[in-house]
Symmetry: C2
Subunit: 363 residues, 2 copies
């Protein structure tokens, strides 16, 4: 598995610059070591050594500029963080712990080299977009002990980042989407709607998108006092420890991560398990400032949604993250909605639909 | 690991069309089964069960329209084939056998739906680009017993395909780039320069690139009698059986696949092993019609380049593919070129450089 750049003979973006970039990435990635990695960046493949009795969980997630992030809205550090967080959250949903990450990056030339087309070295030169991306990516990788074992880097007219994660889970313990049964309770970790709230605030900030290349590379100028409001959107925390604890203790009958929004993800869970569900609106753990609609339809919260048998002793928090009972699993009945939302005004069907997506606007 | 599409509420490209597409892909992928896959497409991650004593080889390769393929030159079947072949070839270079493939696809809407924006169903409707892509991808996956275990599908302004492959190799038997020693002989499988020859012919055919969207989606009209000439470029064969045989028998001291071209890839091998090399130009197994330059600098032949100790009994062919001794490994000396090319006119340094790349032209 190579972390290799295409040959490039143009001045300013030349071979030596590419090799220098490659060396920088290798050096930074090498700092996060994993005992399961026998061979990392630099050969045709990485070599991994899983332990006996472990199953491997593998996931890939593609992020595309204009669809999953915007160069003129998101700081490069947030794009790097979110790219990895999406994949880590998929591992968390299986109860797996990260073993190694692989990152394929396709980037326009101006995001790799600075304005003068020279490599950003020595450090007194301004940081390039790709440096910011790796700052965010590797900080999260470090926090979740996820070594970057390889990937691919190519020039591309638009920015794309594909993350692939390999995780391990004790054999037979993985949390699937298909195990929910009528009578199970439904739970969510953390708070819901925070990412949608942050995105709404970001949209307001971005009233007038940056027009110049320099502005675009810097991203929005985000006021300091908004850091906390925007964090759930810009820097979501994957629930690795919580997913692992649920798998290890055999507490959950089914689980997935809230990436598309509660209404959509719960529909997935119900479909894979062949069941229906009822949600108690008053029980939903809303993020401060979030509306009920943002909690129901807002995606990218990356909390875990799981079910557990009625007699399971589910704790109120796992390693500091609250766990809230939000509803129950019921039998699927012909002509009845898959999800019923109970509010003070009565019960109503909950349709699986997403929050307004920033990427649907032309950029 | 999901093979999931983004929500899309526009007419003609709607949710039902996306789900139908997803069902079609799932159904086709399910036909290639792998005993090591416990859970494939449909959950947050795929679950793989490696056997004790096996190491995992993991590789990713990013292919981008305009850089690695051209929509107006390459038939969709060839794009699908080449996407998978790149990854399989990396496994072959390690001596690994494929266990599972993961594919992230970012595609413009018009490549997923047909001209009228409706899903291509029933079968009497014209095949879409993505159907052709999967035809090529899954035919190769079937031939090399590589189940598609998951991936991601998103809308993208340009076509991108990222392939991730997980393979297995007996512990400690993997072929690395770093094991070549002075005195080893240097070998190549198959014939060299065929892909560059095919690409040159394709370039000539494409004198006038298609201008309409329909023409672009069909790709070039390739005359039947050119099939054999273009095959090494459009449908390269990864050397899985040959790599596995070399690893299994412990014959090779180092190996990699010829993706960037002999001059560049041999330089990689020499750098990783800390050695130098001499090539005998007269010994190179040129593909019929290929020039010496195409064999030296033309990439994408996806043959294996490997070294073996002087007393190793390297066969002349492995499962029908010829193995040719093309040079030897020598000590690295200060001020001396990494690679020396011996021809009838004497010896000259061989510079690591690529063949003219189609992607360097604006499209």
């Amino acid at each position: 598995m190579r972390l290799d750049t295409e040959q490039n003979t143009e001045p300013g973006g030349g071979r030596s610059g590419e090799l220098e970039l490659l060396r920088r990435i290798r050096a930074r990635a090498a700092r996060i070591s994993g005992t399961a990695i026998r061979l990392g960046i630099g050969d045709d493949c990485a070599l991994l050594n899983p332990r006996p009795g472990e199953e491997l969980a593998v996931t890939t997630d593609l992020s595309i500029a204009g669809r999953h992030f915007r160069l003129d809205w998101h700081p490069p550090e947030a794009v790097g963080h979110r790219t990895l967080a999406r994949g880590l959250s998929d591992l968390a949903a299986m109860g797996a712990r990260p073993m190694a990450a692989f990152l394929s990056l396709g980037l326009p030339k101006e995001l790799v080299h600075n304005a003068k087309g020279r490599k950003p070295w020595p450090k007194t030169w301004p940081k390039t977009w790709i440096d910011g991306f790796y700052d965010g990516f590797l900080a999260l990788a470090d926090a979740y002990k996820t070594p970057l074992a390889g990937g691919d880097l190519a020039e591309s007219p638009i920015a794309v980042a594909d993350i692939m994660l390999v995780g391990t889970v004790p054999r037979g313990k993985a949390l699937l989407r298909s195990g929910a049964r009528p009578g199970d309770w439904l739970y969510a970790t953390g708070r819901l709607g925070g990412a949608a709230t942050g995105l709404t605030r970001l949209t307001e900030l971005a009233g007038k998108p940056a027009r110049t290349q320099t502005d675009r590379q810097k991203g929005l100028n985000i006021p300091r006092n908004l850091g906390q409001t925007l964090a759930p959107h810009l820097y979501p925390q994957p629930r690795i420890a919580q997913g692992f604890a649920l798998a290890q203790r055999g507490l959950a009958t089914a689980a997935l991560d809230l990436s598309d929004g509660l209404s959509t993800d719960l529909t997935h869970l119900c479909e894979e398990s062949g069941v229906a569900a009822e949600i108690d609106a008053a029980a939903l753990p809303l993020h401060p400032g979030a509306t009920l609609a943002q909690a129901l339809y807002g995606g990218e919260d990356y909390e875990l949604l799981f079910t557990a048998a009625a007699d399971a002793r589910v704790p109120r928090a796992i390693t500091g993250v609250p766990v809230t009972r939000i509803g129950r699993i019921v039998r699927r009945r012909w002509g009845r909605p898959t999800i019923l939302l109970r509010t003070e005004h009565g019960a109503q069907p909950l349709e699986a639909r997403g929050w307004e997506h920033f990427a649907q606007r032309p950029i």
